[in-house]
């Protein structure tokens, strides 16, 4: 029992615990749609690309969370702007912009003489999360969850069958735009907790795990949240005892849960479990 409670004796650990819960709860709510719409690459590019905003904001003395949000939105806008280019696929553009913004972030941060270390931004500094950061994360995360709940039907219809959705009056492109903004918001709230590099882990892995067994969207989202929170808390406790980086440990726990779930659910997904279409 002490193994579980010892890490939370110090106040900074209790704050870290709350910050991990917020990310663990919010990221899978948005991540469910990222997984279903096969947008994980965009999440990855955005999580890396926000480093440019972080670096520039840090250099300018602005809160890095605003910089990250700004960079995320600029990447989204650029992708939208170039989306009509038929010669290059969306995946190519995502890779080009994601790596370009990541490179810009690395260059800016490596030129700073303020003592800021690149690794802090890449892998997060969960143990230095302040109450201000925490409240901002709760506000941003709560807002993201409310938006998903309000748009649940529109998201479901436009993700499953965008043509039919459009035909019955759903503004499919607007829904997609809102989802990209939510993606940027999750990247921002993950920044201090697991860092820019690992933020896509919390976004995708718990939702991908629940996708393996959940039959309905509500259950997929619900199980994603349960898994996300459990993995974040357990990863944090484990990192305390192993004296390892919290963000990376949380990422490893999430990956391990995915691997186990994949193996356990494998028989259910074997071809003989699906009736033939004809």
């Amino acid at each position: 029992m002490h193994w579980l409670t010892d890490p939370f004796q110090a106040e900074f650990m209790r704050r870290a615990f709350l910050a991990a819960i917020v990310v663990g709860a919010v990221a899978p709510v948005v991540g469910t749609w990222v997984v279903l719409r096969r947008m994980a690459n965009l999440g990855d590019a955005m999580s890396h690309g926000t480093l440019a905003g972080v670096g520039l904001a840090y250099a300018a003395g602005i809160d890095v969370l605003f910089g990250a949000m700004g960079a995320g939105l600029v990447i989204a806008a650029l992708l939208l702007l170039f989306s009509s280019n038929r010669r290059l696929g969306q995946e190519t553009l995502i890779a080009v912009f994601g790596t370009a913004f990541f490179a810009l972030g690395v260059v800016v941060i490596s030129r700073l003489d303020t003592g800021a270390e690149l690794t802090h931004f890449l892998f997060g500094r969960l143990l230095t999360v302040g109450w201000g950061d925490l409240w901002l994360n709760i506000g941003l995360g709560g807002g993201a969850v409310l938006v998903v709940l309000a748009l649940f039907g529109e998201l479901r219809l436009s993700t499953f069958d965008h043509v039919q959705a459009e035909q019955v009056g759903v503004h499919v492109e607007l829904v997609q735009g809102i989802l990209v903004v939510l993606l940027a918001a999750v990247t921002v709230i993950s920044l201090r907790t697991v860092g820019t590099v690992m933020s896509v882990t919390m976004l995708v892995t718990p939702a991908a795990t629940s996708r393996l067994f959940a039959r309905t969207l509500a259950r997929m989202t619900g199980w994603g949240v349960v898994l996300g929170v459990s993995e974040a808390v357990f990863g944090l406790i484990l990192s305390y005892h192993l004296d390892a980086a919290p963000g990376a440990t949380i990422g490893l726990v999430a990956a391990a849960v995915f691997a186990v779930t994949y193996l356990v659910t494998l028989p259910r997904r074997m071809p003989h479990h699906h009736r033939p279409l004809e």
Partner: protein
């Protein structure tokens, strides 16, 4: 609107994808309760025509539904469209009941939840498609015929006067095709107009009231026996393309 006015009128419909002309100068009118086959080779523009009629792609020309001149998608809510089924992920976490209920979206605003009346309509449409017991099933659990009936149920939940079905019968076995044709015929007799894009020319000749032959434009429009004549088929499919068509019709 007079009682004899067409339920759907299309005049001078054209679609371009950049420099490429996908469809030009398509004109036809259909009445209530008509069951129409739309035939043509792959890439002939059948899907493009359906999408243009629904307002899903930019087009020139006129589309009128139920006497209303359509400017945008909201003017076309009396149309239901079933896209080609391979466009959808059958493992998507949505039940058959939820999918059919989605057809009721046109009757509410984005922030409103489905009402009891919507659920009743969806359940009734499922029952009509003999899917009353499949409400909680995943799509992947349905057979090909059941899946098509579920899509038809969703379209009917829209309570649309005109239903456009894009290759609804492709890859469906003979018993399911017969079942679906029975459903289509029943709907047509009830006053719903159905346009079904199909590659099955024998079925088009045997089971439909009217046939539209499309290849870049409307090549022929009339009774299936007239439209599916050798002369017209050669115009629509080309001389090389008619190989196999004769066999299909002979079947």
């Amino acid at each position: 609107m007079s009682p004899t006015a067409p339920i759907l009128r299309v005049a001078g419909l054209g679609v371009r994808y950049g420099e490429q002309v996908a469809l030009h100068d398509v004109s036809f009118a259909v009445d209530r309760g008509e069951l129409i086959a739309v035939v043509g080779p792959n890439g002939a523009g059948k899907s493009t025509m359906f999408k243009a009629v629904c307002g899903l792609v930019n087009h020139s020309g006129v589309v009128e539904v139920n006497g209303v001149h359509c400017h945008d998608r909201t003017d076309r809510m009396d149309l239901a469209y079933i896209p080609q089924r391979h466009d959808n992920d059958l493992h998507f976490p949505i039940t058959v009941g939820e999918m059919v209920l989605a057809g009721r979206r046109r009757f509410r605003r984005w922030w409103q939840r489905p009402r009891a009346a919507d659920r009743e309509v969806a359940a009734a449409r499922l029952a009509k498609g003999q899917l009353g017991g499949s409400c909680d099933k995943a799509l992947a659990e349905l057979s090909g015929g059941e899946l098509q009936r579920a899509y038809v149920a969703r379209a009917l939940a829209q309570k649309a006067s005109v239903v456009l079905l894009d290759e609804a019968l492709s890859g469906v076995d003979s018993p399911s095709t017969r079942e679906l044709m029975g459903v289509f015929r029943q709907l047509a007799e009830g006053g719903t107009t159905l346009l079904v894009a199909t590659h099955d020319l024998a079925l088009a000749r045997r089971s439909f009231d009217r046939c539209l032959a499309v290849n870049g434009t409307l090549r022929a429009d009339g009774r299936p026996t007239e439209v599916l004549s050798d002369r017209v088929l050669e115009t629509v499919f080309g001389s090389a393309g008619t190989e196999g068509v004769d066999d299909a019709l002979a079947d």
